[in-house]
């Protein structure tokens, strides 16, 4: 036993700093949140223990149902279009088109802008009174462009999703460009020699070889979707009437604007459970090394 400890000692010591940081910045907030979620508490004055009442209220709360539904919509409706458009852009730019470096930078710019700036600009673009889309609609006869996208409860979440896609497609493109650089050119040349068309090469060789890029984008997309806050907050504040509410905006509103830190913590705990479940499911399905390229153990 002593020998085993002596053997493992240096390794544990090397792990200790990371472990301390993990406990302080990950475990502590999670446990704090779980504890706070059992209280009726305004975050400042002494709280009252109410057991699981916050969770019972939460699962009855229609706003929570809307937020869950929006998160469920957000994940596929942002990840798939972003990945598809990013892949198409990457394929185009990888063929050495004129000024491809310029286009790479241009398409990537939205990803490095502040979501606050993006939100304010798109709010102006989509303003049906005199926004850019409305003016374009008037000039071209496409009147539908001047629709109340952000102020109609049935379209608000889709309008925010569209802006999110605009913002993050360049990021996917960059990932795919990096993935394309890693594909062995001899494989592509062999396909060419065998008479494979561009479509066949892309769908049967390039696309499968980009598996790790797809999975990385999937994981990053899910994480990004679950923590989406700024863009929603600036574009709609979760409205109208909570129609575009997401779990983080709902938690923020409850904890800080409505002084219900206990209830906000319950929302955060649900968010943690969803995030952990999603991550573990991916590890379960694709194996723990799916991002690094290590194949899943059979």
């Amino acid at each position: 036993m002593r020998e085993r400890i002596a053997k493992a000692g240096p390794g544990l010591l090397f792990l200790l700093p990371a472990l301390i940081l993990f406990v302080v910045f990950v475990v502590y907030p999670i446990v704090y949140n779980v504890q706070a979620s059992t209280l009726r508490w305004d975050g400042v004055n002494p709280g009252v223990f109410i057991g699981l009442d916050n969770y019972a209220d939460l699962f009855r709360d229609p706003v929570f149902h809307t937020a869950l539904k929006n998160s469920a919509l957000w994940i596929p409706l942002t990840i798939v279009p972003q990945a598809l458009m990013g892949l198409l852009l990457a394929l185009a730019l990888n063929r050495g088109v004129f000024a491809s470096t310029f286009y790479r930078a241009l398409f990537f710019i939205p990803a490095i802008l502040s979501p606050i700036v993006v939100g304010i600009v798109w709010q102006r673009i989509m303003d049906p009174f005199n926004g850019v889309l409305t003016e374009v609609g008037k000039a071209t006869g496409l009147d539908w462009l001047g629709g109340n996208f952000l102020s109609d409860p049935s379209t608000a979440i889709f309008a925010v999703i569209a802006v999110n896609i605009w913002m993050w497609t360049g990021f996917s493109m960059l990932f795919y460009l990096a993935g394309l650089q890693l594909i062995d050119t001899s494989v592509l040349e062999a396909a060419k020699v065998d008479g494979a068309s561009w479509w066949q090469t892309t769908t049967r060789i390039v696309f499968p070889l980009l598996k790790h890029t797809h999975l990385s984008l999937l994981l990053l997309g899910i994480i990004g979707s679950l923590k989406t806050f700024e863009l929603v907050y600036v574009l709609t504040q979760g409205g109208p009437n909570h129609a575009s509410e997401m779990l983080p905006t709902f938690a923020f509103q409850e904890a800080f604007q409505l002084q219900s830190v206990g209830y906000g913590s319950a929302i955060s705990v649900v968010l943690i459970v969803v995030a952990v479940t999603a991550s573990l499911s991916m590890v379960r399905v694709f194996g723990s090394g799916f991002i690094t390229g290590e194949e899943k153990r059979k």
Partner: protein, 458 residues
């Protein structure tokens, strides 16, 4: 299985560590003022030898103005320093709550009346002694009545302390672009029917007759409160205190009139998606609207301390604007009611290590040289009467200022706030639902009443 046990043990250990660290969630942080601190009755700025430093955190006044106020106080009181930080409002709420929980509450804090002040009441020092020592026993006469009334909003019964004192007050009202009115040959509307007829007459121009930036809950509520008080003055506050029902006919009618702003085409297309700041304000200042609901603070667009060449033409000396009250509602009060209250108030930490300096700063910023700096920028209307800007840039600006300070503010009887944040949110949600056609006025009123029932049930 071995792996699972190890994983389980590690998780349990980590959780236990976290639990130890997290042991204080919900434990409360407020402490009684310590010995030697002046606390409730002993804070005194008068004759005190001021030195040392205090911290100030708020979302208002804006950073540049706060810097001028800090500088004015520090110049008058050598040896003192004020460490001031200004946030945007949502960020400030997070910062304040975090600091209250971590025993790093600032010496002086910006507060809103009602819920926010009450949330931090146990962290705040009563201020009446500080005020009396600085301004004399009749200090309350200096303030506009609505400011003092709201400063104590939500205090428990029998607690007459002032945990915050107002620094700026305001009315909520409408503003007209007088150029558009003159060009259209229209008069500023006094009644609902006149409002509709003015909007009809102005339709078809390249500006919105009535720009309603209704994305923000605070603005929806401010407009609603103006309508509701014009329908039956004071009834909504009775509903909030449980003495009346939200489903009473007059309140339902107020929801209905709010909805008509949208359904009858008075507000512009997409009104519920437009925010007041920056979009609505920018549009109005750019001349893209004839009317907008904001408040007295709009006068800050003509800030005399700014480089006047940078001020848009309409705002220069307020030449292009005229404030007016929300039109009367058919069958309601015969005259438009004044709705308003505190813009921002200041509180002092119960545990400040330098209560004399904190008191001196607070009173200076309300009515001293720091306050003068603040009012010189026309950030909003001062909470104390008789404090005027050192300079006006036009007769129109002075006329509008005098309207606010002499005619309107002394008459403000109805609050622009609800006391409970849950009611505030419920009303804002109900108004959004009415505006988008998701609820009828009856359903909206019933939805607010159901939240009201929960609030009253505790």
């Amino acid at each position: 299985m071995k792996f699972s046990r190890k994983l389980g043990a590690t998780a349990a250990l980590a959780a236990a560590g976290g639990l130890v660290l997290a042991g204080c969630a919900g434990g409360g942080t407020a402490e009684e003022p310590s010995q030697g601190q002046t606390g409730t009755n002993g804070t005194s700025a008068e004759g005190a030898d001021l030195s040392g430093s205090v911290t100030f955190r708020s979302w208002s006044p804006i950073e540049q103005t706060t810097a001028q106020m800090v500088s004015a106080f520090e110049s008058d009181n050598p040896g003192t320093t004020i460490d001031a930080t200004i946030f945007n409002y949502p960020e400030y709420l997070v910062d304040l709550q975090t600091r209250a929980s971590s025993d790093t509450f600032p010496d002086i804090v910006g507060l809103q009346p009602g819920a926010l002040t009450q949330q931090y009441r146990s962290n705040l020092m009563p201020l009446q002694q500080c005020a009396a020592d600085t301004w004399g026993d009749d200090w309350q006469d200096m303030f506009y009545p609505i400011g003092l009334e709201q400063a104590r909003a939500g205090n428990p019964e029998g607690d007459d302390n002032f945990y915050s004192l107002p620094i700026l007050v305001q009315t909520v009202n409408l503003w007209a672009n007088t150029q558009h009115f003159a060009d259209a040959g229209q008069e500023i509307p006094q009644t609902w029917d006149e409002l509709k007829s003015v909007v009809d007459a102005m339709e078809g121009n390249d500006y919105a007759p009535f720009l309603l930036p209704a994305k923000d809950g605070w603005l929806r509520n401010a407009v609603f409160l103006q309508i509701a008080n014009n329908v039956e003055p004071g009834l909504v506050y009775q509903a909030e205190s449980g003495d009346a029902s939200w489903t009473e006919a007059s309140i339902v009618e107020a929801f209905d009139y709010f909805g008509r702003l949208f359904s009858e085409g008075i507000a512009q297309e997409g009104a519920i998606g437009l925010d007041a700041y920056p979009s609505g304000a920018n549009q109005f200042e750019a001349g893209n609207a004839a009317m907008i609901p904001l408040g007295a603070w709009w006068i800050q667009q003509s800030d005399p301390t700014k480089d006047q060449s940078t001020i848009p033409e309409l705002s220069l000396g307020m030449e292009g604007y005229e404030p007016f009250l929300f039109p009367t509602i058919p069958g309601g009060a015969s005259e438009s009611q004044f709705v308003g209250g505190i813009d921002v108030s200041l509180g002092i930490s119960a545990n400040t290590e330098n209560p004399d300096l904190a008191c001196a700063v607070l009173t200076d910023w309300i009515a001293g040289s720091g306050g003068q700096k603040l009012i010189d920028t026309m950030n909003d209307i001062p909470a104390v009467q008789g404090l005027n800007p050192s300079e006006f840039t036009s007769a129109k600006q002075e006329e509008i200022w005098n309207t606010f300070v002499e005619d309107w503010l002394p008459q403000v009887e109805y609050s622009r706030y609800f006391d409970d944040p849950r009611i505030d949110q419920a009303v804002a949600d109900a108004l959004a639902a009415v505006a988008t056609g998701q609820q009828t006025p009856d359903e909206a009123a019933a939805a607010v009443q159901s939240v009201q029932d929960e609030v009253l049930a505790g």
